[in-house]
Amino acid sequence: MASKKRENTPSKELLEKLFTTAYRIRNFETEGIKLYRRGLVRGYFHPYLGQEGIATGACAALDERDYIASTHRGHGHCIAQGAEVEGMIAELLQKETGYCKGYGGSMHIADITKNNLGANGIVGASTPLGVGAAMANQVNGSDAVTVAFSTDGATNNGTFLESLNLAAIWDLNFILIVENNQYAVSTTLAEATRETELYKRGEAIGVESHRIDGNDSLLVYETVADAVKKCRAGLGPILIEAVTFRHSGHHVNDPGKYMPEDKLKYYKDRDPVDRARDNLINMGKMSAKDVKAIEAKIEAEFEAAVKAAEAAGEVSIEEFREFVEGY
């Protein structure tokens, strides 16, 4: 795909893809929360609102052979990596047509046919799992790259050091994207560590590391595309710290009152979906009307997905019992 190359003038195609993905995530989360409020979704729901630029930009730089590993805040990664909204909604609604048959839910959501190792309920787990996928590809002679999405919180966990170090000594095709949203629930990054520039931890173990604006999906795309190229040339792994901010609390039941208003405003003014839209309109020269049409299509797609998921069959206890026979 031509758009995989680093470009000075991004193609309209790329810009459209970025906006479409970002908007699809935004819509999924906004509408998904409504389903949650209506009692249709249970368990945990960690919205990706405000961070859409990262998954959007990163996955746009990957192709079919490439892998991702995701976090507890995993809807965005799942969508960006090509999952259909229908299988995702069905999963949240505990339906047997869900990607994980309703056995996984939000925290384990994945379309694994898209080389997605899944969302994960253990903070920090995506890094070693992602390094493992990179290792599998190296052993199997593939030049596929694995992107592990991770979090600021995860960088204070031992898995970060251990697995990134393994990726480094083995020169794996591995890209670690640290989504630095500056909070772990209500704990600020500055409370969690003295050095809040997290990319330095990569440098300290000899890994090429960058810190970028995670709300700029185009910049994320370009940085990851470059990292992918380097990885395929044997120059991995690479760490990218993408700075961002949540638009809401930690999960749907967290009002997030501890988030300072001015900071929230600062990041909302730099909303990744708005910026992707602006890029598409300004750089991609798409008309506002055409953009609206894209939005409408995404919204309709979501509504259809909800209908389909609601109509889908319930899981079967008998099948479940059979499934776990011999567990």
């Binding site: 368990g43 505990q94 839910g105 925290m107 253990i122 919180g153 204070n156 629930v185 704990t187």
Partner: protein
């Protein structure tokens, strides 16, 4: 002692307030426990009362937190480390198994580790496979640890206070579904020694052994059984280590029949061990095999119907009791 009805989480909080007031070497670390007061409000208000040296939020560093707790206990403090879900204790398992549990023996008894790990487990609400486990059997198998699983507010308070006055590492495992349950808790000092089972209900036909969140469910089953004319005794060991074998054997000697109810998966759970003990030590007083009602051998699925099917429900308990009562020699 005058009784009051308070919630399990309030009882825990009272224990922490009282003990921290008594002993200045007690401190608490955990994720979101200071400012925010913890996910279940158990530590609410402690920061204001005891200050930031003794009540601290941590980064997401379970292994480090547990290790720091163990080291601090060795060096003369009384740390409480709160781990949000018992599932996450797996990240610090080395520190629990290889350090906390072993230090006393490795030093020939010269060192002690008065370390308390507070956490919570169990299913409920669709939090899925990595946030729903009942892992007490893992700690139960490691010599050197104490394993405490209170089922009522009074037990929660009394046992937590005792935990903070003894010298060995304690896995204090609460249940996510019990925090909001209410129960009578006496005013004033309440300290509940480890190793003393509590008969939550007296009975003569069958002994039901259960702990933690299986107690309310087992009591409901006993209630219904009573309506059927079956008198079930409900025994809550309260602490799995040390286990009150005497009380268990005494109850079984009286009823000659036993059902053990456990939320954890059947294979290799604590129920199996209790069954093996009863069988070895009370073989000839058993009129029927000890039956175990336990979780299915599966990670907990997200789907709420399947989640419910995965762990013992009231009717499973009733069915098991009926089965041991009607047991005839094959």
């Amino acid at each position: 002692m005058a009784g009051r009805e308070i919630m399990y989480r309030e009882a825990l909080r009272e224990a922490l307030f009282e003990e921290m007031g008594r002993d200045e070497s007690i401190f608490i670390i955990g994720e979101g426990i200071a400012e925010r007061g913890g996910s279940y409000k158990v530590t609410e208000g402690l920061l204001a009362e005891y200050g930031p040296t003794r009540i601290r939020d941590t980064p997401i560093s379970e292994a480090g937190m547990i290790g720091v707790g163990v080291g601090a206990a060795i060096a003369g403090a009384r740390p409480i480390v709160e781990i949000l879900y018992v599932d996450f204790a797996m990240l610090g398992m080395d520190m629990i198994v290889n350090q906390a549990a072993k230090f006393r023996l490795m030093t020939g008894g010269r060192g002690r580790v008065p370390f308390v790990l507070r956490t919570q487990g169990g299913t409920g609400g669709g939090v899925a496979a990595q946030h729903s486990q009942s892992l007490e059997a893992l700690f139960y198998h490691i010599p050197g640890l104490r394993v405490v699983m209170p089922s009522t507010p009074a037990d929660a308070k009394g046992l937590l206070k005792y935990a903070l006055r003894q010298e060995d590492p304690v896995m204090f495992i609460e249940h996510k579904h019990l925090y909001m349950t209410k129960g009578e808790v006496p005013e004033g000092e309440l300290i509940t020694e480890f190793g003393v089972a509590d008969i939550k209900r007296e009975g003569t036909d069958v002994t039901l052994i259960a702990w933690s969140n299986m107690i309310p469910r087992t009591l409901q089953a006993a209630e219904e059984l009573a309506e059927m004319g079956i008198s079930a005794e409900v025994l809550d060991p309260r602490t799995l280590v040390p286990l009150d074998r005497v009380a268990i054997l005494k109850s079984v000697a009286k009823t000659n029949r036993c059902v053990i109810v456990q939320e954890a998966v059947r294979r290799g759970g604590v129920a199996s061990d209790i069954s093996s003990i009863i069988q070895e030590e009370a073989f000839y007083s058993l009129d029927a095999p000890v039956q175990i009602v336990a979780g299915m051998n599966t990670p907990i699925p997200f789907n709420l119907t399947l989640e419910e099917a995965s762990v013992p429900q009231k009717n499973d308990i009733i069915a098991a009791v009926q089965s041991v009562l009607h047991h005839k020699a094959a």
